[in-house]
């Protein structure tokens, strides 16, 4: 038996499976990141609802807060385990990255560990404490969840920021890491825009997905106070977050233009270094050509450097094998920006209607759009991470370590990858199935706890 197993996974180190390892990591992140959105945004939404109940005494708000907190706990639990897998994968897939650089960026993860602890502790107290703690103590027990969610996401993103903008150490002539400054590594230049961008994205994804549930019920004619409140609260949040995200996106793009010009060139599909570069809106990039986009003269220079004649570095500035896969980066960037713009427009429709008519829009198209907006926001989120992460390639530590130098030599990667695909596909199907059933239940069936 063991001999057969050995034959399958191989003994010793022979070749590496870079592409499979990258896809495996991408799959695991793709499953985890939507859950992070709920970790960031859902506690604040639940507490807001509970606060409404405490202020007004209206049981509708309480029922919603309780129902949402139940979903919050399930999604947190799944996030706990998918997050654990990521910790394992960092070592299992990229052992040489961890070995060489762990001492530089690891400090942020140590802090994240504590945030995660607090989140797990207080989410349990909050969800299991319904009807058992005094209303005030219960509301208070929710606050650390919100704070730990923000802190945890910040520390994890600090590591991603560091991979894109490695600082906080020196290199000896032999290439050894020395004079490590963990705090400086934590507060790298890419931390802040990535954190704020992701934080708003968390609210957009969670907000639109939750609103979509009630918009769907609305279209089915369920328009009682319960569904109305469940629709308006998340919509109000996303209507404010969506336009803010556009401003933050501009900040992010300018930082990338400055620190990672090759990534920016890939995002825009800009082949040659150009002064007064045009921005191509829309279109599809295939094999070095953009088809079907609209060119706006000088706009790229204006957006990236706030100067219409600024020089924007093209892909030709670096060797071909130092460029990321341009089509992935460029097309994903277009998808993210396009969807972001649509979401902002949808938020504006909601605000306009509230302001002018004091009510929700009457057109069924509004509700259909809100139902579609959840999956679209999720798509934009994933597309955004593809821009950041695929745009970083071929580097795992920007311009210091190539991804191919970091990958494990283990032979079992394809088997591991296939296993994970099956496990995650089953998990996603199961979670969606059960959440759908939960969403179909109305106010009456809100029970105590999980």
């Amino acid at each position: 038996m063991l001999e057969i197993l050995s034959g399958v996974v191989g003994e010793g180190v022979s070749q590496s499976y870079l592409l499979e390892a990258r896809q495996m990591q991408a799959l695991s992140l793709g499953v985890h990141i939507p859950l992070v959105c709920f970790g960031i945004a859902f506690p604040a939404m639940v507490l807001f609802m509970e606060g409404l109940w405490l202020r007004t005494g209206d049981e509708t708000y309480r029922a919603l807060a309780k129902r949402w907190s139940k979903v919050m706990l399930i999604l947190f639990a799944v996030g706990v385990v998918t997050g654990t897998i990521l910790s394992f994968e960092l070592g299992l897939l990229w052992p040489r990255f961890m070995e060489q650089w762990g001492e530089v960026f690891g400090f942020a993860f140590a802090l994240e560990g504590f945030s995660f602890f607090l989140e797990a502790i207080f989410i349990a107290i909050y969800v299991y404490g319904w009807d058992r703690l005094s209303p005030r103590a219960h509301l208070l027990s929710g606050l650390p969840i919100v704070l730990a969610g923000i802190a945890g996401a910040t520390f994890v993103i600090a590591v991603n920021g560091w991979m894109n903008n490695p600082t906080g150490f020196d290199l000896t002539a032999a290439g050894e890491v020395t004079n490590v400054r963990p705090v400086a590594a934590l507060f790298n230049d890419h931390l802040w825009h990535e954190v704020v961008h992701m934080y708003l994205a968390g609210f957009l994804v969670a907000g639109f997905l939750v609103a979509g549930v009630y918009a769907f019920a609305w279209l089915r004619g369920r328009r009682d106070r319960y569904h109305r409140a469940g629709l308006i609260v998340p919509l109000a949040i996303v209507a404010l977050a969506a336009p803010a995200q556009i401003v933050i996106g501009d900040w992010a793009a300018r930082t990338v233009a400055e620190n990672q010009p090759t990534k920016l060139a890939a995002m825009e599909g800009l082949e040659e270094t150009t002064e007064g570069a045009a921005l191509t809106i829309g279109g599809i990039y295939v094999d070095g050509e953009t088809y079907g986009g609209v060119d706006v003269p000088k706009l790229l220079s204006l957006l990236a450097f706030h100067d219409p004649d600024a020089e924007v570095q093209g892909l030709d500035a670096v060797a071909a094998d130092d460029r990321p896969p341009v089509a992935w980066v460029r097309n994903s960037f277009q998808v993210m920006v396009g969807i972001g713009t649509l979401l902002a427009a949808l938020g504006a429709w909601f605000l306009w209607s509230r302001w002018r008519r004091g009510s929700l829009p009457s057109s069924p198209w509004f509700y259909r759009a809100v139902v579609a907006a959840g999956p679209l926001a999720l798509t934009a989120l994933i597309a955004g991470w593809i821009v950041t992460e695929v745009g970083r390639q071929p580097w795992i530590v920007y311009e210091l370590m190539r991804t191919e130098e970091a990958v494990t030599g283990a032979d079992g990667i394809p088997i591991g990858y296939a296993t994970l695909v099956v496990v995650y596909a089953s998990l996603i199907a199961l979670v969606l199935f059960l959440l759908r059933r939960l969403a179909r239940q109305g106010q009456d069936s809100v029970k105590a706890v999980p």
Binding site: S6, V9, V81, F109, A124
Partner: protein, 346 residues
């Protein structure tokens, strides 16, 4: 000095995970072995009621251990993951299945759904501690080498590793039975307290026998580890573990479940401390010392300071959670699992 201090922090984290996380895995073991749907319904219900509020916080100790490991001992983390990737990956998959099945089981509407999720939860609760235990055994018995010549399978299928895996399952079951007996007694479920008391005594006998038999296995499979465990500080810890185990059995016998919780924790924690003391000052016996595995002093100092500050927030929070839990403030009604509601109530 700093590397040794950091190893101690790592050891505390690992012990907390072995005790608290181990108890959650062990609870899954009792779920798995609870018998038919009708007979096991109350045991399964109690497992769920007892684990629900605390398992996520208990699980975070594993994250804590991983993070300290790669931040403070990066030169050990790389070879460790590259050598023992098979058991570690299998443990990771088991962790997904177990956590997700446990969290989602509460939403199961039909008996068939609850059974499928329950079986997934229970089975993976046995596999995860086995693979993690085997990993610890492989490290302690010197299977990890820096030149990456160790086999992907042979590195963790030596007798010591397999024995460690089995011991991890058994000790988890033992701690879980003690904790579940204490929770049942606290909640006034006398039948369940008795049921778990019997299980705790049985598991204590099995774990004790395994530990003694295991020493024989280790003496032939990993003589250097055996020497470490039977002399000096290693021997002191092994003796402490045996003593704590015996005291705990006496406490369980007398139905003094509260103090038994502590005794069981000491019995398990001192085994891990004994392993660490047996191989010190090496991280990988004969291959890599603590000092050589460690990150630079700046990183160790920053991590230790942040751990100290973090504990100032974490410990009161954990104390609050466990106090609320132990006083029954987070208790839910006991819902037997595996039978339909009406059946259970009749």
């Amino acid at each position: 000095m700093l590397p040794e201090l950091t190893v101690a922090v790592l050891g505390i984290g690992l012990t907390a995970y072995a005790v608290l996380g181990g108890a959650d895995f062990g609870a899954g073991f009792w779920d798995l072995t609870a018998g038919g749907a009708k007979r096991g319904a109350r045991v399964r219900g109690m497992v769920k009621r007892s684990m629900g509020p605390v398992w996520e916080a208990n699980h975070v100790w594993l994250i804590f251990v991983l993070v300290i490991l790669w931040t403070c001992f990066p030169h050990a983390f790389g070879p460790l993951m590259e050598t023992l990737y098979v058991p570690l990956f299998l443990a990771a998959v088991g962790i997904i299945l177990r956590g997700a099945a446990f969290a989602l089981r509460g939403e199961a509407a039909t008996i068939a759904e609850a059974r499928a999720l329950g079986a997934t939860f229970a089975l993976s609760s046995v596999l995860v501690p086995f693979f993690l235990g085997a990993t610890v055994g492989a490290v302690a018995s010197g299977q990890v080498t820096l030149d990456q010549t160790a086999g992907a399978i042979s590195s963790w299928t030596n007798a010591t590793s397999i024995f460690s895996g089995v011991l991890a399952v058994a000790t988890g079951a033992y701690i879980a039975a003690v904790f579940l007996a204490a929770d049942s007694a606290r909640s006034g479920f006398d039948d369940l307290a008795e049921a778990f008391r019997r299980r705790a005594l049985g598991a204590a006998a099995v774990a004790g026998a395994l530990a003694i038999g295991g020493l024989a296995v280790v003496s032939s499979d990993a003589p250097e580890l055996y020497d470490g465990l039977t002399s000096g500080a290693g021997l002191a810890m092994v003796s402490l573990s045996a003593l704590a185990g015996l005291v705990t059995v006496a406490l369980i016998w007398k139905r003094s479940f509260g103090p038994a919780r502590l005794g069981a924790a000491v019995a398990v924690g001192s085994i891990l401390a004994g392993l660490a003391l047996a191989v010190q000052p090496d991280f990988f016996p004969g291959q890599l010392t603590f000092a050589a595995a460690a990150a630079g002093d700046a990183t160790l100092a920053a991590t230790l300071i942040s751990v100290a500050i973090g504990l100032l927030i974490l410990l009161p929070s954990l104390a609050l959670l466990f106090r609320l839990f132990l006083r029954g403030r987070l208790d839910q009604p006991l819902e037997p699992i595996g039978t339909s509601r009406s059946e259970a109530e009749s």
